[in-house]
Symmetry: C2
Amino acid sequence: MDDKTMKSPNVVWHEAEVSRAMREELNGHRGAVLWFTGLSGAGKSTLAHAVERRLYEQGAHTFVIDGDNVRHGLCADLDFSDAGRVENIRRVAEVAGLFVQAGVLTLTAFISPFRSDRARARALLGEDFIEIYCNTPLDVCESRDVKGLYKRARAGEIADFTGISSPYEPPEAPEVDVDTGTQALDVCVDQVMAYLRQRGIIA
Amino acid sequence: MDDKTMKSPNVVWHEAEVSRAMREELNGHRGAVLWFTGLSGAGKSTLAHAVERRLYEQGAHTFVIDGDNVRHGLCADLDFSDAGRVENIRRVAEVAGLFVQAGVLTLTAFISPFRSDRARARALLGEDFIEIYCNTPLDVCESRDVKGLYKRARAGEIADFTGISSPYEPPEAPEVDVDTGTQALDVCVDQVMAYLRQRGIIA
């Protein structure tokens, strides 16, 4: 419920809300969503956590939303059908929006292969949405194959696997295009941090 | 994706995660969920925002989740049927759990009339779940009737209105039982703050 003022015979209550701007002032940085997208194995989660670590070391308030913490929780009711994936990304964008209101630098790490889904997230989040393309070519991702998923997908054991049997639609104008295929992790982190400073999101 | 270590011919990437404990150390307080429950007009949202304000003034990192910021967003696909309400509370609890992982003192303000729903939230959140009963009697809520909802419910214009045509199941052992019916707002806030200090959640 959202009563702004409450009266009873005995008490008059007034609400004093804490605004996003007040939280950002407390934090010393702006809230924003760093939306990492790319193929399986491109380095999204690794880069997101490395950027988070760097931000933390500067005293920033951060959180990473990824499959690990939503697929078994908030989105546990969703399957991996097209409709399930669309709803998964919709909820992630909505939750990221709440974290931004809380003044948190929020990093999301999902393949999010479809432009339409990312466009919806961008429409929802506006200028708080920062698309970071983990630009590792398919052959590099496949040669890494940390989880053996590409091998299984090639063997036909995984249906609709992005890059093999389901398309990945690369960002057309990402805010940051990171060469996660050949660069060292620190160099990739530097690039993201430079963008955040340039935008005035961090000092 | 959640690759913990990635290798390619050129680079070896290692992940360095920021933990909840690290965020709590940065914040200077623990994360927790303050789950405000009570009738419509009991003062849940008002008290939640007033507690948030007090916490903010002490430098704490907070966020209020209420109908205002989820019913039109994350839960916009849900109706007010029993199933819709159950799913609404489930998602709120899951999102609150993410905020706790981020080290945030999270305040939720929903009628949440059913013990079973609150029990599920408690089961999910464990010792991070703090149930705060906004204990305003029905007749006081109805006499306040800030939004005119009770009048409409009595006239039969609103189906399944909690307290009138749908039950409210009071908490049996809430962590905090606040007399929001007669006490001044500051006194109610003091009571919640004292509990948080006693539990060692804030200094």
